[in-house]
């Protein structure tokens, strides 16, 4: 080995401080953070990047990320990100939001930031539950799925509404350039997630408008499942409700469900 040149092909991102993760076992946030950090490093963006932390589990991202971090009010991340990007157009602005933040309290802000074609990239982590506050029903909670505020399961007919499909909702907006839904429940899907986020980064770097990648993740603790069971829930239940694939590329609408047959 001594005469062979060693090349590092994988490892912990230098942007992630050597601190314990604040996330629960089996949580998908860490994987999404890793992918995001790797891409920021690969693109050499760390020196001029603002990571927008939401209100939700990933609010604590500032405690371990080696990036400028701005944490906005619940749901207002797209508006605050707009303020930063317009003030400093050369700064790479990465808005990270969960399902309560983006798809419930912040629906107005995400729709209008997307519709204005704000040149920001949003990573939307959808785990179908409110994590930080302890497992309440999210706008993306599946029908029949139990939560502390729908103990018998989400029931649309008793007024709880239907799981909100964000990619499908944003698809029609003129300002949206790239839109994809991925998952991190298997290694293959993690790789696809990285590819999608890379495309979203490219859109911002080429000043082409708004880009968003929705990532399905598991929340075993608040779902009341074992981690493996939770990954199976993503595979069998969530993807059925939230089909994976690209919904918009270069501003052109795609139909992922039909494409994947």
């Amino acid at each position: 080995m001594s005469d062979m040149e060693m090349k590092k092909i994988a490892g912990r991102s230098s942007l992630w401080a050597d601190k314990p993760s604040p996330y629960c076992p089996g949580c998908g946030h860490g994987v999404v953070h890793r992918v995001v950090c790797e891409l920021i490093e690969e693109y050499h963006l760390a020196d001029n990047c603002v990571f927008m932390a939401p209100v939700g589990c990933s609010i604590l991202a500032y405690t371990f990320l080696g990036l400028d971090v701005c944490q906005a009010a619940h749901g207002r991340t797209p508006a605050a990100a707009t303020g930063i990007k317009r003030a400093r157009p050369d700064t790479f602005v990465l808005a990270y939001q969960g399902d309560g933040d983006l798809a419930s309290i912040g629906t107005a802000e995400i729709i209008h930031a997307a519709n204005r074609g704000e040149n920001i990239t949003t990573i939307f982590v959808n785990n179908a539950i409110y994590g930080m506050t302890g497992g309440q029903m999210a706008p993306t909670t599946l029908l029949g799925q139990k939560a502390t505020t729908c103990p018998s399961g989400r029931d649309a007919l008793s007024g709880m509404g239907y799981p909100l499909r964000v990619c499908e909702l944003l698809q029609s907006l003129g300002g949206v350039t790239y839109l994809a839904r991925t998952s991190v429940h298997t290694p293959g899907n993690v790789i696809k997630t990285k590819q999608a986020i890379k495309k979203a980064f490219d859109v911002q770097l080429q000043r082409q408008g708004f880009s968003l990648v929705e990532v399905l993740t598991s929340c075993p603790v608040n779902w009341g499942m074992q981690p493996v069971e939770a990954l199976d829930f993503v595979d069998k239940q969530m993807i059925h409700q939230y089909p994976l694939g690209e919904y918009k590329v270069d501003g052109v609408c795609m139909t992922p469900a039909a494409k994947e047959g």
């Binding site: 971090v69 701005c70 906005a72 009010a73 207002r76 317009r86 602005v93 802000e109």
Partner: protein, 369 residues
């Protein structure tokens, strides 16, 4: 010497802000401040600066949060209902120690109310408004000229203390046209090494937030803010006092109401009645000492507001000793009339409280109840 122009208050505030180095404006239409947002839309983009008509007041104040976090001079404007929507964002600005200028051109409330002038947002402006333990510096201009001048000042003060500053006008100040002199300003914002974004060139990452779950941290922040507010109280109070030296009665009013009171004072003096005026220009910090000092010589105070009585609580808090405090108020879009104020002055100074008053909204010897 700057140029002399005829301008509406809303436009003067906008132009003064642009001259003060405003880089980013975010607003939403609401009467009676619409000229302000329209002026921004036609002047900022041409200068390569940012104008966004936001989807809501909530979005606008959070865009301000982002732009302030990025270190540029930024502003939003609205009126009562919209300012209520911004309160969460204002609290976050304070919590994250971000400088910004907010303009409230007050209208009649509560609720949707009307679009007539009002001073009913005094409590909201000076006593919190949003959640948490905080203050805004609150300027109350009484003319178009002063609206422009205080706007210029507001940006410097916001930057100096890393705290939002509020310009509190009303529908008359916003809509009225007056000749003003616009000064040439050389904006000189301080360096903002705490801002996010921009090439770091080796500096450590910055953080803009108002959250800490560690024990004692938020308490410590609050004491830091408190120290800042103590400093503001020492250095930023602005008040106008007129003819108080020999006054038998002092009118206390701010904003456009003080203009009416000045006329009353002129008529009263012409009749031989010794009337003075104290006009707080900063509503927070409030000029308690100026009032207390005046009360050593004068025993009668008459507070006039376009509300059912809000600033009067601060006048009482000023500790006027033996002085009596009277009140005349017109809420919900009403404007105080000179003859009504005059009647109260006669009642107190000439008739020595004998007989009854015909004016509505008047309380002689007002007490905290």
């Amino acid at each position: 010497m700057g140029e002399r122009v005829l301008m509406k208050g809303n436009v003067a505030i906008a132009e003064a802000a642009i001259r003060a180095g405003l880089q980013s404006y975010f607003g939403y239409p609401i009467t009676p401040q619409n000229e302000l947002i329209a002026y921004m839309s036609s002047h900022l983009p041409a200068k390569g600066r940012t104008f966004i008509q936001a989807e809501s007041e909530v979005a606008a104040i959070n865009m301000v949060y982002g732009a302030a976090a990025a270190g540029v001079r930024c502003m939003t404007s609205s009126s009562g209902p919209g300012i209520s929507l911004k309160q969460e964002g204002i609290s976050y600005l304070v919590g994250a120690q971000l400088p910004a200028v907010i303009v409230n051109i007050m209208r009649g409330g509560p609720g949707l109310g009307n679009i007539a002038p009002s001073q009913a947002d005094y409590f909201q402006s000076c006593k919190g408004g949003g959640h948490g333990d905080y203050h805004l510096v609150v300027y109350a201009p009484s003319s178009v000229q002063e609206a422009a001048d205080l706007t210029t000042k507001a940006f410097d003060v916001a930057d100096r203390y890393r705290n939002p500053v509020l310009i509190l006008g009303d529908a008359i100040i916003g809509q009225m046209m007056e000749p003003i002199v616009l000064s040439e300003v050389t904006p000189n914002p301080p360096p903002k090494p705490w801002a996010v974004g921009g090439a770091r060139n080796g500096r450590k990452p910055n953080l803009i937030n108002s959250l800490s779950l560690e024990e004692g941290v938020v308490e410590k922040w609050n004491w830091t803010f408190h120290a800042k507010y103590q400093e503001i109280k020492k250095t930023e109070i602005m008040v106008e006092t007129l003819y108080c030296e020999d006054a038998d009665l002092i009118l206390v009013a701010y904003g456009v109401t003080s203009r009416i009171c000045k006329e009353v004072m002129r008529h009263a003096r012409a009749q031989g009645l010794k009337v003075g005026l104290i006009r707080p220009i900063t509503l927070w910090p409030f000029p308690y000492k100026a009032l207390a000092q005046a009360a050593r010589k004068t025993r009668e105070f008459l507070v006039v507001e376009m509300s059912v009585g809000q600033m009067i609580e601060d006048v009482k808090l000023a500790g006027l000793g033996e002085a009596a405090v009277h009140f005349h108020g017109r809420p919900g879009g009403g404007i105080p009339r000179e003859q009504d104020i005059m009647e109260i002055i006669h009642h107190v100074l000439v008739n020595k409280r004998a007989g009854t008053l015909t004016t509505q909204g008047t309380v002689v010897d007002w007490e905290i109840s």
